[in-house]
Symmetry: C2
Subunit: 245 residues, 2 copies
């Protein structure tokens, strides 16, 4: 068996998310698998570093797949670029160590959440930002964000009611910055629960707009109760930005 | 009569260009006029700083229009933002001097032509760049570009065979730069002939890829013959970037 590492980028706007659900299902995984299988000439399953929801984008999604026969990476990459739709891009393809697995080997992921914080339009990046007009207080968001750093049970920031696995994750970075009319959140951690980034973004937006207190964010965290955290910010502002091994 | 200045941005991908052709014609001017007329409650014609072709974008397109009655600019701007489609953005609206006219008063325009110069995909900006894979020689393009600067008869860089008006224009700036995998051309001048920016871009791309000599660009200019210049680069890489008065 040969093992490969494929790096993708995608505009998730018109997809039902990363995960294959069966058939021609509108998932990114399904689209890439069917294209890759046709190119290689053998049914091929790929594993992504993680699932992204419907409408979420990826600047860098790492995948791995196995093949019984060695493939010519340069040739397959060229064909992937030719046959994949223009909103899914194949950035690189190379042989990987036998034990490399895109999800299991992953050490750190970085997500970016982009908020377009003005009533003025942004016609060029509109599909990659969440538009929120009321002015956000960045300093308040930063203070609230800092209380989430470190290793915690993040159950309050997860949309799944029953977790089979541990809800403990380590958040290494949660940067809040203003770039002109954009407010950008950058989150790095060893892993993220279902909707965790979007709920953190929604909760911080509520802090920034004055709808909730700074302190309430840490209170929500330690309550372990989803009801105490903020809204789930829309998928279109979320980008899987970097994956480390 | 009251006179107004409206600044727009648009993603031109799905439009037949700036200029109204009649009816619900798929033009940007037509879309903005019908929306504005409905908001104001009176048939309103707008003048743009210039026409952009089908598929060309604008970071800044300045328009002017007259109204018999004074309008509340803040209110009309909010409504424009609400009713215009998301690929046409109303950036600002304000009262202008009586003699201000978006096209006639224009002193300088800046266009940007963006070339995505690699075989790797760019899923996020794909609609706003022309993809040209062979590596471009920027230094050669810069040298050729410099021969076009200044006041010239640009007939060789115009798609219209018969010009009613003077084909003399002054090109104040023609910058060629590499920004990572992007090659960006920035052109400023007192005006541009039909397809002039796209033909200059196509000609410089031919120089950069070795398909024609640097010297041939100046030779094409002084020949006044369209046949001696290069191809018309595609509309999707072109952006009306700035308009000065």
């Amino acid at each position: 068996m040969f093992n490969y590492r494929l790096v993708l980028a995608y505009d998730g706007s018109r997809y039902k998310g990363w995960q294959r659900l069966g058939g021609s299902d509108g998932s990114i995984q399904g689209k890439v698998e069917s294209t890759l299988s046709r190119i290689i000439g053998a049914e091929t399953e790929i594993s992504g570093s993680g699932r992204t929801d419907a409408g979420v984008h990826a600047r860098m999604q790492v995948c791995s797949f196995k093949s019984e026969n060695a493939i010519d990476c340069a040739d397959v990459l060229t064909k992937l670029r030719h046959y994949l739709p223009e909103d899914i891009g194949a950035l690189s393809l190379e042989e990987a160590e036998a034990r490399f697995h895109a999800r299991l080997s992953c050490r750190e992921k970085t997500y970016v959440y982009r908020i377009w914080n003005t009533d003025a339009p942004n016609v060029f990046e509109r599909k990659f930002m969440y538009r929120f007009e009321p002015a956000l207080d960045i300093a308040a968001m930063e203070r609230a964000a800092s209380t989430l750093l470190g290793k915690h049970d993040f159950s309050a920031f997860c949309s799944l009611k029953k977790m089979k696995k541990s809800p403990v994750r380590t958040l290494n970075k949660l940067k809040v910055e203003r770039l002109g009319d954009e407010v950008r959140l950058t989150l790095s951690g060893d892993g993220f629960l279902y909707n965790m980034v979007r709920i953190i973004a929604g909760t911080l937006i509520e802090v920034g707009s004055g709808a909730r207190s700074e302190e309430s964010v840490y209170e929500a965290l330690i309550s372990l109760d989803r009801q105490h955290a903020g809204f789930t910010a829309p998928a279109q502002g979320l980008i899987l930005y970097d994956v480390r091994y």
